[in-house]
Subunit: 357 residues, 5 copies
């Protein structure tokens, strides 16, 4: 379960002195991959590095340096990187602790942004969170991805490579915007998935409400809770970037960040709508169960109302009293049938009058 997992990871660190660098995720065997991209309007370089030291020369160049690191489980390497770029030890610690809440912190020389990317694991049918951290300086951007295998920013790299659009003409803050935009767009894929599932469940509830529907509804509610938890702090983060007086965010980038903010606001709107829909669907489900119980009770009552008096009557004339004049009548038997049919019809009419059929 996602949620208890979060607290478990946190628990790992208890009792250690502050600033101990400890990776809180599961052990990963794959190596860390470091991609360096240096560019300005006219130049473009791209390297896959083996060691952190190779970044250092780029710090002095006038180009913008983007270092993307997949895998945050190597304290030695991250510490070295932190020292080279003058990053606070607490930031490095937060990078490695992949249970951070989305947040944005201003350290003067650089901004530290932690975000969650959500992707949908089709095989296991669940939402998978990945922590993405950005460190934005004047001329550099460091990005850290939890997952070693997948690089979620390859599209942006290819935009940079092609040199189209204004991305190469603008600063590191615009690059940060581009990464944020890519991350936020991912939420809409998850939202669409959730929306589709809600629509499907809704149809099922309308046509054949059953036990499974409730299980699915519960599952959707959990997914929704998870999404809700991920999206809300995002708004604060982006909003603090939009409002930020940090000189690291140039005025020309603000409209773009405002655009990302609009997207987040829209995602939150959808999340809220989904919550209301799920709540309403629960009511729909409960009322449909009540309705079905009601229907079943009606059938039972109709059957009992018609046949109990008749069975009683048949029982009466099955008694063995010596003196039962009716039994001797020549037309006793047809008469009792007539009476019983009349009684049955009366009861049927009564039931119909009550609008039960």
């Amino acid at each position: 379960m996602h949620i208890s997992r979060t607290t478990k990871r946190r628990v790992k660190k208890i009792g250690l002195p502050a600033e101990t660098l400890l990776y809180t995720g599961e052990r990963i065997k794959d190596g860390i991959s470091i991609k360096l991209t240096a560019y300005d309007e006219h130049n473009f370089e791209e390297h896959t590095l083996k060691r952190v030291d190779e970044c250092l020369p780029y710090k002095l160049k006038p180009t913008i340096t983007w270092i993307n690191i997949n895998g945050v489980h190597d304290p030695v390497m991250l510490e070295k990187l932190g020292e080279s770029f003058g990053i606070h030890r607490l930031v490095i610690e937060d990078l490695m602790s992949i249970v951070q809440r989305p947040k944005c912190e201003d350290f003067g020389d650089y901004l530290f942004v932690v975000l969650k990317m959500l992707s949908y694991d089709e095989k296991e049918n669940k939402i998978v969170p990945e922590q993405i951290s950005l460190i934005l300086g004047e001329k550099f951007l460091l990005s850290f991805q939890e997952d070693v295998k997948q690089d979620v920013f390859h599209l942006i790299r290819s935009h940079l490579r092609s040199g189209k659009g204004k991305i190469r003409k603008m600063g590191a803050d615009y690059l940060a915007y581009a990464l944020l935009d890519a991350l936020v767009d991912n939420y809409f894929i998850i939202l669409e998935k959730l929306g589709d599932q809600i629509d499907l469940l809704e149809e099922e509830l309308m046509t054949r409400p059953g036990k499974t529907a409730m299980g699915q509804l519960y599952q959707l509610k959990r997914e929704h809770l998870f999404l809700h938890k991920a999206v809300w702090p995002l708004r604060e983060v982006i909003s603090s970037l939009v409002r930020r007086e940090s000189p690291l965010i140039h005025e020309s980038t603000t409209p773009y960040l405002r655009d990302v903010y609009d997207h987040v606001a829209q995602a939150i709107d959808s999340v809220e709508i989904y919550r209301d829909m799920l709540t309403t669907m629960l009511d729909l489900y409960l009322s449909s169960v009540s309705n079905r119980t009601n229907e079943i009770m009606k059938v039972l009552t109709i059957i009992a109302t018609i046949f109990m008096p008749l069975t009683f009557l048949a029982g009466v004339y099955g008694m063995n009293f010596r003196h039962m004049p009716e039994l001797e009548w020549e037309y006793g038997y047809p008469l009792i049938w007539t009476v019983m049919i009349a009684l049955g019809v009366t009861m049927g009419v009564y039931v119909r009058k009550k609008k039960w059929i």
Copy 2:
């Protein structure tokens, strides 16, 4: 479904570089229509344009220029228009992406306002949203409608033509107010429709609550959610216009905008009231289902309470024991009838005492 549709449209753009102009609605074949209106207190011109270039001369004239564009699916044309009036590329992108959240942005030289107009499609029995965008400059107003066929502002154009009222004496901001006012008034038509449906459903729930009622209630809840989502951000938009220190909004127009704000506040009041009513109606429905189940159970229990003991008694005297003295009694049969009637009456009295009938 409206809601998943929104996220789907958004998903279309994922992976494209920022500022790509892409129309996110369904493909439209009809051409775009451009209507230009230039006026001041003494002059009035009206033209249907073929090409955007024809607008340019009006930029220099002292009259107020209103350009209304039906259809936002032609990137080339909108780009050209944007360049002529010095509009930011992101604004043009937002114009075309018809899944924007209502918002108001100040770009210094102009204000950019996105709104949703709601209309009721009688044929398909659902609320249809349409995105309307306004760009308000000192001497010009650009308005963009998603729908190619219908011009929602024709009444305002005819007021302009007639020259009555103060509309021709005031600036472009007053014209923007007039358009906003027309849009907001449309909400009241939708609200009235929803109110009528709620009143109808309420009566149905009071007289003959059933399965269909629940379906309708659910439908109304969804419509309400949709309306809620559309109306709330509207308040922020208008409120930011009222408070705006932008020199584009003249002081003389503020009372009018405040009036629009009052209308929006009233619409929100109604939406909130409707929500409470729908919630209460759900409770009413659920309690009525419980009540009916209760009623049915009563009938079943009454029948069983009266006839089970009687049937047992009849069964007793239907036994074939050789020595059953009662069977031989001369008045055995009338006696047992008496006993059974007495028992039945007793049970009936017991039931009545419990207030079940």
Copy 3:
């Protein structure tokens, strides 16, 4: 229904140019009545006017002029009045549109206050809203009542006439306070009525919960919603008067307005308490229905538990097998009675052990 009526009235005006003066209430045949009161500490004049023009001379006098108008359906007259006192056209429009939300607007020379008065129509057993508007200037107060027949301010007029208290010594703002106070006091009558109905319903729910109770509960919830909608904006209105730096509100009047504000806060407290009580009563009702169903089920189950096995036993000895030795026993019949009674008692004990009786 109140609520859809509000939106309907609003819909009447759609498509008309802004500032069209249109009365949105039902057609009224009775004439408008105009009462002018001019007073200061030493003077007191009172007139019932036929035409608006007769007010004009009083504008120049040093006395405070209070013009009360019953009926707001005559655009010509109101327009004339507006012009004489320099009132903005939008204010006159709002006066006539009797679906305004309570609000307070500062126009510099005068304050415009819209309020709702609630009264209880004993005959039709419902709350009747009436829109009251005040225009407060330095030396004058204009008050407008929707209802032509009833003058809700006659008590204040008689206080003025008597000259007792400080009302004649203070300015027009104090008079406005007196009117507001009278209006707010009316809410407590409605609240008392609602409180009485809630107490009655509570008792009914405690002693004999039934179908009607649910209908009444629903009715009370609607009335409560209506009251809630009326009271909340009132707080904003009075609070904005208390805080107002408008020179029209003198410092000596502020404590009085604060007093009115306290009353409104108290009314809101009561409204909130009522909401919680109604919600709790719904829970009480639903649980009592469940309890009753439970009770009924118990009776049914007791009856079935006792008589089904007995009836079966009687059925066994009613079978016609040739060789049924028990039937031949001399004491077979008393024996079977013994068995059946023992069985019945056992079942009864079982039932009692389960605490069903």
Copy 4:
């Protein structure tokens, strides 16, 4: 009922001119008692006064004067007192109207504080509110209690008399703090009572949920609502005293007031916790009723499932067809018993498999 009583009292005053002094409580026959305490670090005087005039000489003395008045139903006396100490007429009016909401008002020369004291009436088993008002000046404190018989401040008077602690060394504001502290402590007695009742009810719901439990739960909810209404405004009152820049509150007293504020915050915490517990208990109750219905239904269904087929079978062999070969079999009777027992056991096994027993 408390709540409707409040509105009823308010209704008494409707129609009277503002500032009419009217006592809104029930008529009280007992006389008003006035206790004057004058003290400083070295002096202490205590008197029970007959007439208000006797206070006047103390106004000029350098000692701190505390006048405590039990009973607020004598307008003449209060008016005189008000005049002597320069109190605004509205304050006197509020003193007498014992339905005030807790509040704190700054009149420059003095602060006016209205509070509710709650005590638990063991005999009638309900919470009894009493209005306590304080008027704090530079050298004097006036306290007003609604109840004539009981003096809730006698402990503080004895502390004053003893001269221990710092109370005699500090100003009138510290005395006010002492009174407030005493009042707030009373809330914890009520809270403890409510907590005990909740614990008791919880145990009852866990062991033997029944009809009475629901009634008690409802009763507790009402008491809770009442407490909630009383405690919340208290926070605002104390908080406004803590923040107050009024020179009447000396800096040395602020930590003490902050302490009272902490107590109130804690009381509010408890009230909120109780609300959540009561809500959860309602859910517990409803689910336990559902569970019991479920249990009962199981028994009914088990009985019916076993005996209905058996009774049918017995009925079959009770038929009087001439040619029923089974009836002639020598072992027909034991055979049918075998079949019936087998059937009964099968049904029993089925039922057990469904986990009903």
Copy 5:
């Protein structure tokens, strides 16, 4: 019960003069233990003291002095300590009253912080709160623990002793941070425990919902309430430390405190998620009970629908009328069996068509 216990403790003090030092916990026999640690970058001293006076010499030394006191039930000792360090009497009073709400107060020379530490008592299976208070001065830190036996800060002491990390290089505020961090980390252990219990209960509800599940759910809700009450005020406390302009908090410590704040925010997120999950689980539970009742009703109705008509039919041919031609038919008996089987099958088909099986 925790909650009523809190109010009970508070009640103990009612009626006593302000600033009376009274320990509000249960009587404790074990002695108080005082541990003094004095350190700077180069020095480290550690002593277990017998008397408070022994602390005094350390006040003048340039090292940082940390005095940790286990046990707060000795007023004399605490008073002496308070006097030595110039602590306000109210602070000492709050230290001893172990029912304080978490808070942070600035007294100029020192900060006073009250916190709750939660630990899980495995034996009694419940959360145990312990009040921890800190007094932070420029060169000293006093920490007070309620529990006499257990020292929760022993790990930090060993970090100090080892001299690793930066803890010995920084001031008393950093030490305070370290203590706070240790306390907050404890919350995650509790949260993990609660998360595990929720996961377990969820599985139980999904597979075999029963009466016990409801009891457990209720228990979890109570624990959650308790946690909620403890965590929320914590945020205010830490946030006020982060924002604090007090010169006692150095700028270099702020990022660390912000880190603690992030942890608290994350804990609050988890608490909120748990609340939503518990609410959803209640819905799941209730709907599963309804579903089971529904299932049981189906079985009952199927049995009754099939066997009631059959039993009636058997009853008819068990009647003793003299003239019942069917009884004489040679194939009457097989015929009636055919009819009965046909009827049974028809009913079975009907039931299956209704999708009950």
